[in-house]
């Protein structure tokens, strides 16, 4: 990090560097707090206009009533009560919303564990085994390939591979490992997790890689000199220092997977429910308050997960 950015960081910690407003200011001295506000201002305004205000609207609308064709701006908990319909009556069986969230959490957890594992080792390889900066860049860019195609194309592309008459099945049948094509390869939780991992490992790789390249190599040498084994160095030096990257990557993956409905829909053959799917169906039926209520519920749950994660690592401090 060069020095001018360091100064900016000190002036307002936690700010994304590069706005440069302060340097453009007149030579007359401004109070430090004013400079900080000025620097944070543009981002704050964007945040306010495109995130906070819409979010407030979503919360307000979630308490409105609705009919077939319009929103009725009168206070109503219908969006929420409809969502939890039958949850008490059906006990001990789980109601739709509980089942849906459990399923979403399960998928989310699986994807998180797998992307973390793969992402960590890919980042480790890039950071410690690839010496040249050019190769590091080139190989990271390779990880973006899954984003080059549209969702529908991607789904269509999986069929020849995982489908009933696909490559994997015909290969397995030919080698005699199975007698009949297996069905769980496609339109199943397996294929959903596979596709999500395929897509989102990249979001793990980048922040973890970013943390790892910033680890002072002399620390690793010191560990080595002190007689630590490779495993001990990994556990006691690299993982703790890569923690911010791990947490940031985890937040990316978890928030995306919690809200995903397209990939889950496409790869699950539209037969697997997800929290995002409920919202989509409601919006399509013009039931905006019910959709908003579900969005609020999803937001609260995701926020709880993120809060738990940031309890483990204070990201602001680590950056």
């Amino acid at each position: 990090m060069d020095t001018s950015e360091d100064i900016l960081q000190q002036a307002s910690p936690g700010l994304i560097p590069g706005s440069g407003t302060a340097r453009a200011a007149k030579p007359t001295r401004l109070s430090p707090s004013f400079v900080s506000w000025l620097q944070a201002g543009p981002m704050m305004l964007v945040f306010l206009a495109f995130f906070l205000i819409p979010l407030v609207f979503v919360v307000i609308v979630s308490f409105w009533d609705y009919n077939e064709y319009q929103l009725l701006p009168a206070f109503s908990g219908r969006g929420y009560t409809d969502t939890f319909e039958g949850c008490i009556a059906q006990l001990p069986d789980l109601c739709t919303i509980a089942k849906t969230y459990l399923k979403t959490l399960k998928l989310c957890f699986l994807v998180w564990v797998i992307t973390l594992f793969i992402g960590f080792w890919v980042a480790y390889f890039l950071a410690f085994h690839v010496k040249s900066k050019t190769w590091q860049m080139g190989l990271s860019l390779l990880c973006t390939i899954p984003f080059w195609t549209s969702n529908v194309i991607r789904m269509i592309a999986w069929i020849p591979l995982l489908g009933r008459n696909g490559l994997v099945n015909s290969g397995l049948v030919k080698t005699g490992l199975i007698n009949h094509p297996v069905e769980w390869l496609l339109f199943s939780e397996f294929s959903v997790v596979l596709a999500l991992v395929h897509l989102f490992t990249f979001f793990m790789v980048v922040p973890i890689f970013n943390s790892m390249v910033r680890i002072d190599k002399s620390l690793i040498e010191a560990a080595y000199d002190a007689g630590a084994t490779g495993f001990q160095t990994l556990v006691n030096v690299i993982i703790p220092l890569a923690k911010p990257g791990i947490v940031i990557g985890s937040i990316f993956v978890i928030t995306i997977v919690m809200g995903d409905f397209i990939t889950i829909g496409v790869m699950g053959g539209q037969q697997i429910a997800a929290a995002g799917k409920i919202i989509e169906t409601r919006v399509n039926a013009l039931q905006f308050p019910a959709a908003a209520a579900n969005a609020v519920i999803l937001l609260v749950i995701t926020f709880l997960i993120i809060t738990m994660m940031s309890r483990i690592v204070d990201i602001k401090k680590e950056l």
Partner: protein, 429 residues
């Protein structure tokens, strides 16, 4: 309802297109206020909101040539079209939508009914829309939101559907079709004649249904009724108990592994069928044609319980008036004058004014598509690609047989809200 989702993947392009259209319009109107003499050269532009069904580039090009009206398509899925009418009624001029969505759109007051007296061919519109019968006099099933139930309004600004003909028409009919199950005859290898086959354990893990609630529920109802489990008073307007029962049957089948996948997108349905992942599923006519054009056997199977039908038509946004309204009438009149109708007929849909479409088609084409006769020559799509070789016969036969066999129409029910919740449960089960 229709081949609308197929353009889903293009939504960004569509957005760009529509915003470009808006920008162009804004620029155009700005020029007019500044320089009055430009008025005479003002381009006749109509923003056309609709699903992909009617939106061919050939149609807009021909329209520009014949009338000087430039059509700017705003393409969206069925659900998104309705959403846009509700939330941004000023973002389009002409609306092309389905009759069942009128139950939502008309009460919102965001559309303007058109005057039947200004539609030249109105009296020649097929009686399917006006009387609920085929030109040959066959009565058509009226369960669901059948067009003739919602075709007229009581007055110009009325939000009530009239029970008898008035001059205020909600949607000027354009296109419609009769949908059924698509099957893979090469894999099934036996005749299929009933909707009940969709849940036949023989096809366990090889069946599919479409995941658009207001269409899927109708297919589900056809299946339930065909299997003799229940007889609905009106499939298109179920009671809560009937919705529960229908979804229970479907949920049990889903849990038993009957369905390979549900589909939502035109291309998904094509690929499921073409790859052999499914062998029987709800389908749309052009999707069947597409599978067949890949050299794979696929039949749009007529079933003894009848077809599920859909229909769409034109109206205009309430914000349209003056010269623009006149252009809208000019455009609708042009649309019914034959070129577009022939174009739609050649895709396997049906046009609202049969006489003008016929005049724009070759006799052998008419005989194949409309009369159910064996093709004398190779049948080509509007873009010139080969659809069927000479000798082929259209699945389901003639117009009379197909439209006369319609049992129900896509519908928005009174209990729509409840139905959507139950549909979500079905997906989550």
């Amino acid at each position: 309802m229709t081949e609308t989702t197929r353009k889903k993947g293009l939504s960004r392009r569509t957005l760009l297109k529509s915003t470009a259209g808006l920008a162009g319009l804004a620029a155009g109107s700005g020029a007019i206020t500044g320089f009055p003499y430009v008025m005479s050269a003002e381009p006749k532009v109509l923003r056309y909101l609709g699903t992909a069904v009617n939106e061919g580039d050939d149609i807009s090009k021909q329209c520009l040539k014949d009338t000087g009206i430039k059509i700017e398509y705003i393409t969206a899925t069925t659900d998104d079209v309705t959403k846009r009418v509700m939330t941004q009624p000023n973002s389009f001029d002409v609306l092309d939508t389905e009759y069942f969505s009128l139950k939502k759109i008309v009460p919102s007051g965001n559309i303007l009914a058109l005057d039947a007296r200004k539609i030249k061919e109105f009296d020649n519109i097929t009686p399917v829309f006006t009387k609920g019968e085929t030109p040959g006099g066959k009565k058509i099933g009226g369960q669901g939101t059948a067009p003739w139930k919602v075709l007229y309004l009581e007055g110009k600004d009325s939000k009530k559907f009239a029970t008898s003909a008035t001059e205020f028409v909600t949607l000027i009919p354009t296109v419609y079709n009769a949908d059924t199950l698509g099957i893979r005859p090469d894999i099934i290898k036996r005749p299929i004649s009933s909707w009940a086959e969709l849940l036949n354990p023989e096809f366990k893990g090889k069946a599919s249904i479409l995941n658009i609630p207001s269409i899927g529920i109708m297919d589900a109802a056809m299946v339930v009724e065909a299997s003799g489990k229940y007889k609905y008073a009106d499939k298109g307007n179920m009671t809560k108990e009937e919705i529960d029962l229908t979804m229970k049957v479907m949920t049990e089948a889903k849990k038993a592994g009957q369905f390979r996948a549900f589909w939502k997108d035109f291309n998904e349905s094509v690929n499921l069928m073409a790859s052999g992942e499914t062998v029987i599923q709800s389908m749309w006519s052009p999707a069947v044609t597409k599978v067949r054009s890949m050299g794979i056997a696929c039949t749009f199977q007529p079933l003894k319980e009848g077809y599920r039908s859909w229909a769409s038509g034109f109206c205009v946004s309430k914000g349209v008036s003056g010269a623009k309204l006149e252009w809208a009438y000019e455009f609708v009149n042009w649309f019914l004058s034959g070129y577009a109708g022939a174009y739609l007929n050649r895709q396997g849909y049906y046009s609202a004014v049969l006489s003008t479409a016929k005049a724009h088609m070759e006799p052998y084409e008419w005989a194949y598509w409309m009369e159910g006769k064996a093709a004398e020559k190779d049948i080509k799509a509007p873009d010139g690609s080969l659809l069927e070789k000479a000798g082929a016969v259209r699945d389901g036969g003639s117009y009379e047989d197909r439209m006369g066999g319609v049992a129900c129409w896509n519908a928005v029910m009174d209990e729509n809200d409840y139905m959507v919740r139950k549909w979500n449960e079905f997906i989550a089960a």
